[in-house]
């Protein structure tokens, strides 16, 4: 058999295929397929000839291997798939890294690195960002296991004589900055991996088996950075003061940023965080930004050739400095802001904070949302020092104020299974465990990206629905144990059902969020708006009735005739203040729900009117029908016991209201916007305390203002439309739905008269 010999083959023959790569970044322990005892036999000719004996299309394959798996294979030699492919004429030898001599260049590289780092925070992979920097690559490619080893391995250069300022620029200042940055990436990666986030969706945690200085401690790195700062400060550094200031600010920021990223929850609870320091240094970095000179040549996509990656190559991502600066500034501010949750001030306040903080546009970074999850619950502790059951029960009490006896600490002391107290305690313990899990999941889910939040809520409501049924049973048992007095409500004798009432209320809110998020994420088409607002209005009305019921049972003297009254411990008795608080919470929640319901009703009428006038058109649906689309939209709610999904025919009639005249409909819409506005005005006048927004007053008020804006915008649209109908100029009206300038949950149609195209002064002839 003729082997295709040549210098090339001989070269390979002399090379030793390493069994366990010792050099570079291959720290994988994957079985390298060539144990040292094995040898390879050339079968090129045999293989090729035998293959040609196969029929066209015939495959010889491992029976356990499916072609479906093959879809995920990387195609070697395909430039789009093969990150190791060399372009024609491209050389494989790493070109010499440019060694900067000017401090301005160092500042430039530092700022480029910050851009890369923030591009990573913003969702690109390390292989597209930080790792494309040749200095980072150079530092990590020898797989340093200690700080001493983490240094640049550069060929000697005339301009960089050891000890010279140029040498220090590179081998002390830039090195310290790079080491700090790599460690920052490691801390961020650890944080994000510790919590639930969606890989590749929000963030890429893949490090391609490159160790991000895992074994080097933060304090060692801080020391290195400090020595770099000291050098810049010293007389040995012959640079002007503004350059020194720029270098120092960047190094100091890196040190402080790393310190903040390395804090654990305990330190944060002890209020040792200093994000303000980072923010101050960032402003200096912003001011001295123009001193830097960019050095684009120290970033190269060729680094991807060396990374262990099972995915195709991806282009370099490096956002402009201004954008990176905005991201890092926001990250520091947000990270500071979430520390507010550690000042626990009631469960409802906590929930408001989570809702408002994560609804912010643009959404807080993945890192911050992950940190928020850790602050909320980690190591079996909520907010770093509390039991989750405590927050859960406070949430229940703040809204429903269940009977005092359920919370008596004496219950826990009873060990007699026949004792009422023991039995109450067993049931409450069950509730804390069962509902506690759902409760934690809800908070964590709110920290996900908006699309995931909507999707996951669709799953959560199924759990909350089951929880509601289970709690109803427990409520029934508890009401017998404490001999609860029934109360007359709506001509029915009824019991409080406090726990299941609380669960039902949360479930309804989540169902509303699913549809509201559908608007925010632009899931629905304009012709569906009326129907989806009808559903919101339906959920809100159900919740209002439910809140009325809760209000009925929140009053002083609950369970005063309990058999346990005589032995009740004092601390569990709800004070007048507790009762007043719960009543205030219910009233506030009623007002908020009523305001939303009015606005939703206005939107139903407005969008129905627009559809009737042909101003919102149903696009052609060649493969779909309205009822199929309805079924799809209702899918998350089909399994929910209460409230029911309305059959399509009824739904259509309820939304379209064919018996109401269009003008009359608009008048009703106008009434709704006025009512809604009144309610939102009332809400705006309430204090942060009574709105349960003391942790996020600013965000809460902004949200209210956006609701109001949508209310006013809808009001204007209604007036314009009524006028057009009355003046018979509907044909000249143009409608554009504005998603941007109003509340994301209430896009408003902007109504204008069609601009007649002006006659061109010079006819476009002869061109």
């Amino acid at each position: 058999m003729a082997s295709n010999s040549g210098g090339f083959n001989d070269a390979f023959a002399r090379l030793h295929v390493s069994e366990k790569p010792t050099e570079g970044r291959q720290t994988t322990t994957t079985t390298i397929s060539s144990p040292s005892s094995a040898s390879f036999r050339d079968v090129t000719q045999l293989f090729r000839q035998t293959c040609q004996g196969l029929d066209v299309g015939q495959l010889v394959k491992d029976p356990n291997f499916t072609l479906f798996e093959a879809v995920g294979a990387l195609e070697i030699m395909d430039p789009k798939m093969d990150s190791g492919l060399l372009k024609p004429g491209e050389d494989d030898t790493p070109s010499e890294i440019y060694q900067p001599v000017l401090p301005e260049e160092i500042i430039g590289i530092m700022d480029q690195l910050l851009s890369s780092e923030m591009s990573w925070h913003d969702g690109a992979a390390l292989s597209q960002t930080v790792f494309t920097c040749l200095y980072i690559d150079n530092l990590l490619s020898l797989n340093p296991s200690s700080l001493e080893e983490a240094k640049f391995n550069l060929p000697p250069s005339e301009a960089h004589q050891p000890g010279s300022p140029t040498c220090q620029l590179l081998h002390l200042i830039l090195r310290a900055y790079c080491v700090g940055l790599i460690k920052c990436c490691e801390r961020v990666n650890l944080q994000i991996l510790a919590e639930h986030t969606y890989e590749e969706e929000d963030f890429v945690t893949q490090t391609y088996n490159v160790s991000l200085l895992d074994f080097v401690t933060v304090s060692e790195i801080n020391k290195l950075i400090v020595s770099a700062i000291e050098y810049v400060d010293s007389g040995a550094a012959p640079w002007p003061n503004n350059i020194k200031m720029a270098l120092k600010a960047r190094l100091a920021f890196r040190k402080l940023f790393l310190t903040e990223l390395s804090r654990d929850v305990k330190e944060m609870v002890e209020k040792r965080s200093n994000w303000d320091g980072c923010i101050t240094l960032l402003s200096t970095i912003g001011i001295t930004r123009n001193l830097g000179t960019a050095v684009p040549s120290v970033f190269s996509i060729a680094v991807q050739r060396k990374l262990a990656s099972t995915v195709p190559p991806r282009p370099i991502v490096q956002i402009p400095f201004e954008e990176a600066f905005t991201i890092v500034s926001r990250l520091c501010k947000d990270a500071k802001e979430i520390l507010r949750v550690l000042t626990y001030s009631g469960a409802t306040n906590l929930m408001t904070f989570f809702l408002r903080f994560t609804a912010r546009k643009p959404q807080p970074s993945t890192f911050v949302r992950s940190l928020l999850q850790t602050l909320f619950f980690s190591n079996h502790m909520a907010l770093g020092r509390m039991q989750i059951g405590h927050i859960l029960l406070e949430d229940v009490k703040e809204l429903c104020l269940p009977a005092d006896d359920l919370f008596d600490p004496r219950n826990e002391l009873s060990e007699m299974p026949s004792d009422t107290r023991f039995q109450i305690h067993q049931r409450m313990k069950w509730f804390v465990e069962r509902a506690g899990n759902s409760y934690i999941t809800l908070y964590r889910t709110i920290c996900q990206n908006r699309s995931r939040l909507r999707r996951n809520l669709c799953h959560l409501i199924v759990d909350w629905d089951a929880l509601q049924i289970e709690c109803e049973e427990i409520d029934g048992e508890l009401q017998q144990l404490i001999k609860e007095e029934p109360v007359l409500h709506n001509d029915n004798i009824s019991y409080a059902f406090s726990l299941s009432s609380w669960v039902y209320h949360y479930k309804l809110r989540q169902m509303e969020w699913i549809i509201f998020l559908g608007f925010e994420l632009e899931v629905y088409l304009p012709h569906e708006f009326a129907g989806m607002y009808w559903y919101l209005q339906y959920f809100l009305r159900t919740r209002l009735q439910h809140l009325e019921r809760i209000r009925h049972f929140v009053h002083p003297g609950v369970a005063s005739d309990s058999p346990l009254a005589a032995t009740r411990s004092k601390e569990c008795i709800a004070s007048a203040q507790d009762v007043a608080n719960a009543q205030a919470t219910v009233n506030f929640t009623l007002l908020e729900a009523a305001a939303l319901q009015e606005l939703c009703s206005a939107m139903i009428f407005l969008y129905t009117a627009l559809a009737r006038l042909g101003l919102v058109k149903t696009p052609p649906q060649p493969y779909s029908t309205d009822s199929m689309r309805y079924e799809l939209r209702m899918k998350p709610f089909l399994t929910i016991g209460c409230p029911d999904v309305v059959p399509f025919e009824d739904f259509k009639a309820l939304v379209d209201n064919p018996e109401i005249e269009t003008l009359e409909m608009l008048e009703m819409a106008s009434e709704n916007t006025k009512e809604g506005r009144k309610n939102f005005d009332l809400l705006s006048k309430m204090s942060a305390t009574s709105s349960h927004a003391i942790l996020c007053e600013e965000g809460y008020r902004l949200n209210l203002r956006e609701y109001l804006r949508s209310c006013i915008g809808a009001g204007v649209a209604i007036v314009m439309l009524s006028k057009a109908i009355k003046m018979n100029t509907v044909a000249d009206v143009e409608v554009e739905i504005d998603q941007g300038s109003y509340h994301p949950w209430f896009p408003v149609p902007r109504i204008s008269s069609k601009k007649r195209p002006p006659l061109p002064a010079i006819p476009p002839m002869g061109r």
Binding site: F12, L15, P21, F47, G57, L74, M77, D91, S309
Partner: protein
């Protein structure tokens, strides 16, 4: 090649064996053969890429480790392949009975 052995049976003996495939751009891919066809297109699982350094290893006078990286599942087109080698464990031939001449450069662990 023994004409009495049907081609698919012979090729089946290579399936799940470790192959070392050299492409026209001088890289080597070592992975487990999962699938092949008439054009010798290969699907290799758990593949590592080995890149030939530019310098001559003899100049260094010492053993040189090839830099490798893990790629996982890959497809190598037959037209891009310069050489196919099969790993032999304990010197046993893949197809006993088939007369395959072992290339003089088969022993590559000498250095």
């Amino acid at each position: 090649m023994d004409p009495s052995i049907p081609p698919d049976a012979l090729l089946h003996s290579f399936i799940t064996k470790t192959l070392r495939v050299t492409t026209n751009d001088t890289r080597m891919f070592v992975g487990e053969l999962k699938c092949t066809d008439r054009d010798s297109n290969l699907i290799l699982a758990r593949t590592h890429e080995y890149r030939l350094p530019k310098f001559n290893p003899e100049d260094l006078g010492r053993k040189v480790d090839l830099t490798s990286r893990y790629l996982g599942l890959v497809v190598v087109m037959g037209v891009d392949i310069r050489r196919i080698e099969v790993e032999e464990i304990g010197g046993g031939a893949v197809m006993s009975g088939s007369s395959v001449e072992i290339g003089s450069d088969g022993g590559d662990m000498e250095q």
